[in-house]
């Protein structure tokens, strides 16, 4: 093994002269007495999730399962979307008519094609009410990371039963995607933003400048 590796490990071990050799990591106590499970009713949860999304300048609409396809078509029309990127496993029933659909079949769309599209439509893995966060875990109907990043408009469908209350619930739900499947995870809270100029928040820098969320409620 490399010389640097051995040297650094030796420095660390000598620096930790005060740690008894018999001490195991779990002997160093960590008390987890913070909240790990929310107690909010589902209806309230949806309301809070919506509220927090709006607070971070995302557009939000509640739709029923039957209305979903029409709502997608309407959103695309409102944003002048003519070329829409979709992951290959997105339900075809969601595809809006009158719009050119760019299916990312076998991850074949080039960055240029993504850049020249008008938007992207995906599902998500989890919604977090506490923070207004949408989580993509590269799972069903979400596609690879690039497709939800390069287009300027991201239309995301969240089922009400995907919404959890607290951040710890979301982290816990992602455990298998990370540890068993090593899938990339993206947390999205509102459209891309910067506060670099005089700490004024400006929505829309490099990521999608518009984030629209359709919450499917039963």
């Amino acid at each position: 093994m490399s010389e640097a590796r051995e040297a650094i490990l030796a420095r660390i071990r000598s620096a930790l002269h005060d740690v008894p050799p018999s001490e195991q990591p779990q002997d160093s106590p960590v008390k987890r007495d913070y909240l790990t499970q929310g107690s909010t009713e589902r209806a309230q949860l949806i309301e809070r999730f919506t509220d927090r999304l709006v607070d971070y300048k995302a557009k939000v609409r509640h739709v029923s399962a039957e209305e979903l396809a029409a709502a997608i078509a309407q959103s695309c029309a409102e944003h002048g979307v003519k070329r829409l990127v979709v992951p290959s496993d997105l339900p075809q029933s969601w595809w809006p008519s009158d719009v050119e659909i760019l299916v990312d079949r076998d991850f074949s769309l080039s960055y240029d094609e993504l850049d020249r599209s008008d938007g992207v439509l995906t599902a998500c893995a989890i919604g977090v009410a506490q923070t207004g966060t949408i989580i993509l875990d590269s799972g069903e109907a979400q596609g690879r990371r690039a497709i939800s990043l390069v287009p300027d408009y991201h239309l995301c469908v969240v089922r009400a039963d995907q919404i959890v209350d607290l951040v710890p619930e979301a982290v816990s739900n992602l455990r298998s995607a990370v540890l068993d499947h090593r899938r990339p995870i993206t947390f999205i809270s509102g459209p891309s933003a910067t506060s670099d100029i005089e700490l004024n928040r400006v929505e829309g820098v490099h990521g999608p400048r518009t984030l629209e969320v359709l919450i499917v409620v039963s």
Binding site: V167, V178, T194
Partner: protein
């Protein structure tokens, strides 16, 4: 060997640099406005969480566990990253890290790389090393881009261009980006940066990032950001190189449930920052197909060796301590002459480079303790500051030669120490003071002391020594009690 790269130039003393900064009224206005805004935002979102103190304590405890077993976790991380298809490199210091990174870029024959804002790469001065190797590094974070285009140094770890206002940025962009017409509206300024960087994102083959978190059990790396430049760099290039200080490690995925709450609220004052990315090694058909993780020591193992200073490595670089600090608010970041300014810089920099190279920084504080109160991982910054001041004094005594030994402050302190440790000498000194102070006392206050002591009274009055000391009173009271009981 001590790494010197953390210090920007061989630091002018903080006192001197601060004085200059304080004379810049534009800077003070910019800083005052910015820190007030962000303090209010932080307070509001922290107030939303009923379990904030429990989260802070958990954050501190997780970091303590990690640091006490750092060798174990680093080896676990190395194993996990390799298993997931990544490469792991170890770098003892800045030049070793720069060499490793430059070589990787060269192998891919890239003349240009894109970068995500990273303090660690600032610390090792990677951009300079790349430039010397003929490689252009483009910063993609808006504030970093502003700093890079202006040829300046960062003044805040989170918002590096906090010292610049919108009209200064407008002028800079018009001059350097070749934009003909531009307003000073932040929205238009951000749009100009978007247009400038778009093509680079889509075509540059190598990206370089830091790391906010590295999960030992899974080999997962996490980056938090706002603009989407991070996601671009982490997703589009073919090759990704991430540099992380060895202390950035967390044992388990579950630990993120704590840090993903602590960091954004303390940092930007948001419930959650717009984008957080996690990746584990290499994923087929998604993102970079070659991933390198560079583990950097660069003085950290020395910080680890100091039992009081060790907690400094808890730091998650949120910048809450900068924003709350009354000293930082007035002087801005440049006065610290270090990549890490503010209270955290005042304790981290001297430990990384050795107190002898940054001896004025532990004094860049009034010890008010506000930084400790807001720190999401409970670093007791005042405790470490005092500890480092003692080291500075010891260093002067031991290595300052005759000049250090005959330093008036040193002589005075030694005399004082002898006086305080001896009852007779202490009471004699009190009596001398009571008798000798009269020429300086006016209405019960001393407003101006002579000679070197004058520094103390330059900004504040000193209450005169009372004619009856506590000891006098105690003795008198005891005598009276004895009399009464007779």
């Amino acid at each position: 060997m001590r790494p010197n790269s953390v210090v920007i130039e061989l630091t002018p003393k903080f006192e001197k640099a601060a004085k200059q900064a304080l004379e810049n009224t534009q800077l003070r206005r910019n800083m005052g406005k910015a820190t007030q805004t962000i303090r209010a935002k932080r307070a509001a979102v922290v107030g939303e969480l009923p379990d904030w103190q429990a989260l802070r304590e958990a954050g501190r405890a997780i970091k303590e566990r990690t640091l006490r077993h750092l060798d174990h976790y680093l080896l676990q991380l190395e194993e996990s990253v390799k298993r997931a298809g990544g490469h792991v490199h170890w770098a003892r210091d800045a030049s070793e890290a720069n060499r490793i990174i430059t070589n990787i870029v060269r192998v891919h024959q890239a003349r240009e790389v894109i970068k995500i804002k990273s303090l660690t790469t600032d610390e090792i001065r990677l951009n300079k090393a790349l430039k010397e190797a003929g490689i252009t590094a483009t910063e993609t974070d808006l504030a970093e881009l502003i700093i890079q285009l202006a040829g300046e140094h960062s003044s805040h770890i989170l918002v590096p261009a906090i010292h610049k206002n919108r009209s200064e940025i407008r002028e800079l962009f018009m001059r350097t980006l070749g934009v003909k017409e531009l307003s000073d509206n932040p929205k238009d300024l951000a749009a100009a940066a978007r247009a400038y960087l778009r093509h680079k994102f889509l075509t540059t083959p190598v990206a370089i990032s830091g790391a906010n978190f590295a999960i030992a059990e899974s080999g997962t790396i996490g980056i938090v950001e706002s603009e989407g430049n991070g996601r671009m760099c982490l997703t589009l290039p073919k090759v990704l190189i991430s540099v992380m200080g060895i202390e950035k490690i967390l044992p388990t995925w579950q630990d993120l449930e704590v840090f993903l709450q602590l960091l954004p609220r303390s940092s930007t004052g948001e419930r959650m920052n717009p984008y957080t990315s996690f990746w584990t090694g290499v994923t087929r058909d998604d993102g970079p197909q070659e991933f390198h993780l560079v583990l950097l020591d660069n003085g950290r193992s020395q910080v680890l060796a100091d039992e009081i200073g060790r907690q400094t490595l808890n730091c998650i670089r949120c910048s809450a301590c900068l924003n709350i600090c009354p000293v930082y608010e007035r002087t801005g970041g440049h006065a610290y002459g270090s990549v890490y300014p503010g209270p955290i810089g005042a304790i981290l920099t001297p430990q990384l480079v050795g107190v002898e190279h940054a001896s004025s920084l532990p004094y860049a504080s009034s010890l008010c303790g506000a930084c400790y109160e807001v720190c999401p991982v409970k670093i007791n910054i005042p405790e470490v500051l005092v500890h480092l001041r003692a080291k500075v004094v010891r260093e002067k005594q031991d290595h300052g030669g005759l000049k250090g030994k005959l330093d008036p402050e040193n002589l005075a302190m030694q005399a004082m120490s002898r006086m305080f440790s001896n009852r007779v000498a202490y009471e004699a000194a009190q009596r001398m003071g009571q008798k000798g102070q009269w020429p300086m006392v006016k209405d019960g206050y001393i407003t101006s002391l002579p000679g070197l002591l004058g520094g103390w009274t330059a900004m504040r009055d000193l209450q005169a020594l009372p004619q009856e000391t506590f000891r006098d009173w105690w003795r008198k009271r005891k005598k009276q009690e004895e009399k009464a009981s007779e």
